[in-house]
Symmetry: C2
Subunit: 166 residues, 2 copies
DNA sequence: TATTTATAGATAAAATATATCCATGATAAA
DNA sequence: TTTATCATGGATATATTTTATCTATAAATA
């Protein structure tokens, strides 16, 4: 069981975009350069974040990406599900119906108990992810970051951010 | 993010083995036939369950597999970790150090905050899996199974189980 | 209006992970 | 010694993830 690398990239991108002033944007190219990751694959994930209404995209020159809502209202669950999909990690294949002791459909009115138990654990995982907001994570980052990092990042942002007309 | 099919197979096998009397065993072939799944691949997972001391194996004719401890002391976490490994689903690749604003190692004494947040959620998942015992799941199964299933399974078990010497 | 720079979408190649099968060796019972 | 079983490793196939490329479309600018 492994989460896509894109999840890590997406969370870092959302955190960086949260440091921009209101309507400013960063291009996909700039986001990829800042994190030292391939632009071609990152764009695929940014697209999904836009589709899930976590980011907004602004086309054309001076365009790019920005948050669609404040960091307080974006959780890790939102991002994980946008990038990784909403299908559960455990997928019941109904093996209880197979083999010599399998019966017809009428014998299985309820969902398999093993599936239900696995789902209970996945609900706990999703609940925990929903508790983690980007605001909380960003505050923790700022509080414990090396003192050199913040001004360095602010300088880079000033050089690379754009302010579209609308 | 997807759990291996082997996890589902392993849980069903452990539940079935829990229905055997004390020292009796079922062969890998019998376990595969009962669940209608490929024997060759199932054996790979059974081996891991043995290595994790969830099952015991008995070689030779009349040999097979049986539980290494009572169902009350086997949790879904034990089985998931035996089959799927213990590595976390989220693997931090330290992209915070890359790109134009990356600094030397001294700037990162602590684990990445994003990684810590993801790990908090995974701990919640593992805790929930550790709450689910095979005894609990089996009791729930027996209580809500179609009345035809139990005698059918008992008959099949009587035909297929073995009692090794030791 | 034409040009430039950006995102959106589709496609495909490469790398990795998962699933399946098969052949061989070791162990213990008959 | 023969037989039925588990243990191991390798060969093959399928699925998923990662990366790259191409075309289309939208918006700002000259």
């Amino acid at each position: 069981m492994k989460l896509s690398d894109g999840v890590e990239w997406a969370i870092h991108c959302v955190m960086l975009l949260g440091a921009l002033p209101q309507t400013a944007t960063l291009s996909g190219k700039a986001l990829a350069e800042f994190h030292g990751i391939p632009e071609s694959y990152l764009l695929k994930h940014l697209k999904r974040l836009v589709a899930s209404e976590i980011l907004e995209s602004v086309p054309g020159p001076r365009g790019g990406y920005r948050l669609a809502r404040p960091p307080k209202e974006i959780t890790l669950l939102d991002i994980v599900q946008a990038v990784n999909g909403k299908r559960p990690a455990f997928r019941c294949t109904e093996i209880r119906r197979r083999g010599p002791c399998g019966l017809d459909d009428s014998a299985y009115p309820r969902c398999c108990g093993i599936n239900r138990a696995m789902m209970r654990a996945e609900v706990a995982y999703r609940d925990a992810l929903a508790e983690e907001t980007m605001k909380g994570i960003t505050d923790e980052f700022i509080a414990s970051a090396d003192p050199r990092i913040i001004p360095l990042g602010q300088g880079w942002l000033a050089d690379n951010m754009r302010s579209p007309k609308s």
